[in-house]
């Protein structure tokens, strides 16, 4: 039988890191308090001291810490990104998660023993892209964008020696990660350049009679009636008009949940399953981590007769964005 995939959980803070470890994460991923990581939100992330404490906590329990340095180094002075890689190596992280191939090149030359993971922001959607990263920079793991069906993931795995990590739960990017500039088109700041999407500082809520409007840099993302639950104006998840129809033209507010296809993911040999959500609370991280831990352990014990327990789905459903869940691209009809 294939080894069980690692469960990789989000750590937006030291409490979230400890919570994830305590609830069964095999590895956590975190980032520094600056624009070198793609969850560059106020109040989140680690300085050198908290990072060291987190790494010690994880290592004492035999778990791993991965550091995400997964925005694209900007312009001529890219020392902040290079310094982040140096810091990660000095701190003794188990791997760095990189998106920028220039930075991968730097990391593999400067720190030949540092394990390199290709971030989902690196947009490797096929094995030719993954294998370029292996040949050139010695990348040992790639996180696939949320665009492939299970069969397409299998095809990638069959054609590379690089470990493949896929997303298991969390907010769903409908666009290929690393290849979406919608946020900077609306606000001037994007995941690639600033490590943010639909940043909070551009969000305004306005009362318009009985309705509430959510705006991003002045652009109307959605409008909610009195009884409607209003969601954060992530710009791809608003309601817009196309040829006279007003609807969620790009994507509903929804979360990805792969429980249903977990046996297939195990069978095709994914190396790790990742939970999105460094911006989430420790309580959220605890719930998702323990639910996926239980599901993975059950699948390992009983791969033939694995079925999704209603209690797991109920636990995750409460945490899902807009209380909605989808298999996303893993299931063909979603496309």
């Amino acid at each position: 039988m294939k080894p069980l995939p690692e469960l990789v959980c989000p750590a937006g803070s030291l409490p979230a890191l400890k919570t994830a470890i305590d609830h069964g994460a095999d590895a956590v991923y975190m980032g520094l308090k600056n624009e070198t990581n793609a969850r560059n939100f106020a109040g989140l992330n680690f300085d050198e001291k908290s990072a060291a404490a987190g790494i010690r906590y994880a290592h004492d329990k035999g778990r791993k810490v991965l550091m995400a340095i997964n925005t694209f180094a900007q312009g001529v002075d890219i020392s902040r990104w290079q310094r982040a890689v140096d810091q990660a190596a000095d701190l003794g992280v188990d791997a760095v998660i990189l998106a920028d191939i220039g930075l991968m090149d730097y990391a593999c030359r400067r720190h030949p023993r540092l394990r390199l993971h290709m971030s989902v922001q690196g947009s490797a959607t096929n094995y030719e892209a993954v294998n370029l990263a292996r040949e050139r920079f010695g990348v040992v793991r790639a996180v696939l964008p949320r665009v492939l069906t299970v069969d397409q993931v299998r095809h990638v795995i069959e054609h590379t020696d690089v470990e493949i990590e896929v997303f298991g739960f969390g907010s769903l990017c409908v666009m290929v990660e690393g290849r979406c500039l919608l946020s900077s088109y609306a606000t001037g700041e994007s995941p690639n350049t600033h490590g943010v999407c639909s940043p909070a500082k551009f969000v305004r809520w306005e009362q318009e009679g009985a309705a509430t409007a959510s705006r991003l840099n002045g652009i109307l993302i959605d409008r909610y009636g009195a009884g409607e639950a209003a969601g954060y104006p992530t710009l791809c998840k608003g309601r817009f008009d196309v040829e006279g129809d007003t609807y969620y033209a790009l994507e509903e507010p929804t979360s990805l949940n792969v429980l249903e296809v977990l046996p297939s993911l195990l069978e095709i040999g994914v190396a790790a399953i990742k939970v999105e959500g460094r911006q989430r609370s420790p309580a959220y991280v605890a719930q998702v981590t323990q639910t996926l831990r239980a599901a993975l352990d059950e699948a390992a014990r009983n791969p033939q007769r694995f079925s999704v327990k209603p209690a797991w789905q109920a636990a995750l459903a409460k945490l899902a964005e807009g209380q909605q869940q989808t298999l996303g691209a893993y299931s063909r009809p979603w496309k």
Binding site: F72, A129, L132, F240, D241
Partner: protein, 308 residues
């Protein structure tokens, strides 16, 4: 005004047009004052009005007629059949290619085929650009969100390092902003992507996505999301040439591409151009916020009318 040291290129059409429209377009384009013509299906594998072999034949025919031609690769490559088409484009044996993902870079680099790293290549710094050059890139198109000052600094550093790369700027057209596994045009018609009935054929400039207060925001173009605004760098050409950009790209639109190309040519030659009369895709407003380091949607400056 004196003439500018800038080449003028035609990007690949990002829209889905009927076969005869495509052939008529390139027959005309062959008569326009262009330095380079890019062509090929860069967006969606289901768009097969021209098959890969047709695109390659057309590229070779244009090259035979003396044009400088580049075959553009599909930007989102997922399946083995996508990779097969990619291998045929890269291995066309005659013209260079525009890579739009690392898979294409891998193939071109392994085969020793010179390539232009397209705007989806996520090159945001000189180290990454130099790395691309070491893998065989002869040119690059900066990400469309890159601002003027960042690009100027990168190009100054390129000169300092003597990196011999051509820099081509996306200078006119609806901006390619995002790619997805999902087809938003099929979604609009409540169709599955696998049974999309090729609805993109009905939207020669894509379909406008407006806010609930009726303001144009984005454009739905199959699996691609574009700006509604037409990115227009025509007023900035003097500065663009001064910072060391080698070429400016016009992205094709359903009608009026010839006038846009002619206007750019006149501006490069040093003549004044009336921006306001230029045809825009679906009558969109003109934007240049990205170039000025702002939100991409921000309209062009006060000396021109952003909206028709």
């Amino acid at each position: 005004m004196s003439a500018l040291n800038l080449k003028l290129t035609l990007g690949p059409s990002l829209f889905f047009w009927p076969r005869e429209t495509v052939y008529a377009f390139y027959e005309e384009a062959a008569t326009w004052p262009l330095d380079t013509i890019y062509l090929g299906e860069a967006v969606c594998s289901r768009r097969q009005q021209l098959r890969t072999s047709d695109w390659i034949d057309l590229a070779h025919k244009l090259a035979d007629a003396g044009h400088d031609v580049v075959l553009s690769c599909q930007a989102l490559t997922e399946s083995e059949s996508d990779l097969k088409r990619l291998r045929r484009v890269v291995g066309n044996g005659r013209v260079r290619v525009e890579t739009n993902d690392l898979g294409a870079v891998h193939l071109a680099s392994s085969a020793g085929v010179p390539f232009v790293a397209g705007c989806h290549s996520n090159i945001y710094n000189v180290d990454t650009l130099a790395l691309m050059a070491s893998m065989g890139a002869v040119g690059w198109v900066p990400p469309v969100e890159m601002d003027r000052d960042t690009l100027a600094a990168i190009l100054a550093e390129c000169r300092a390092r003597a990196l011999p790369l051509e820099t081509e700027l996306f200078a006119w057209g609806r901006l390619p902003l995002a790619l997805s596994a999902r087809c938003f045009t099929a979604r609009h018609y409540n169709l599955k992507k696998d049974d999309c009935q090729f609805k993109c054929l009905e939207h020669a400039d894509g379909a406008r996505l407006s806010t609930r207060e009726g303001k144009g925001f984005l454009t739905v173009n199959g699996i691609q999301t574009m700006s509604d605004g037409c990115h227009a760098l025509l007023p900035h050409l003097t500065d663009i040439a001064a910072i060391g950009v080698s070429a400016v790209r016009v992205s094709p639109q359903a009608t009026g591409t010839a006038e846009v190309v002619a206007a750019f040519r006149r501006a490069i030659a040093g003549s004044a151009v009336d921006m306001d009369s230029l045809p825009r895709p679906d009558g969109a407003c003109l934007v240049d916020g990205y170039w000025r380091g702002e939100a991409g949607i921000n309209p062009i400056g006060e000396h021109h009318h952003a909206c028709a």
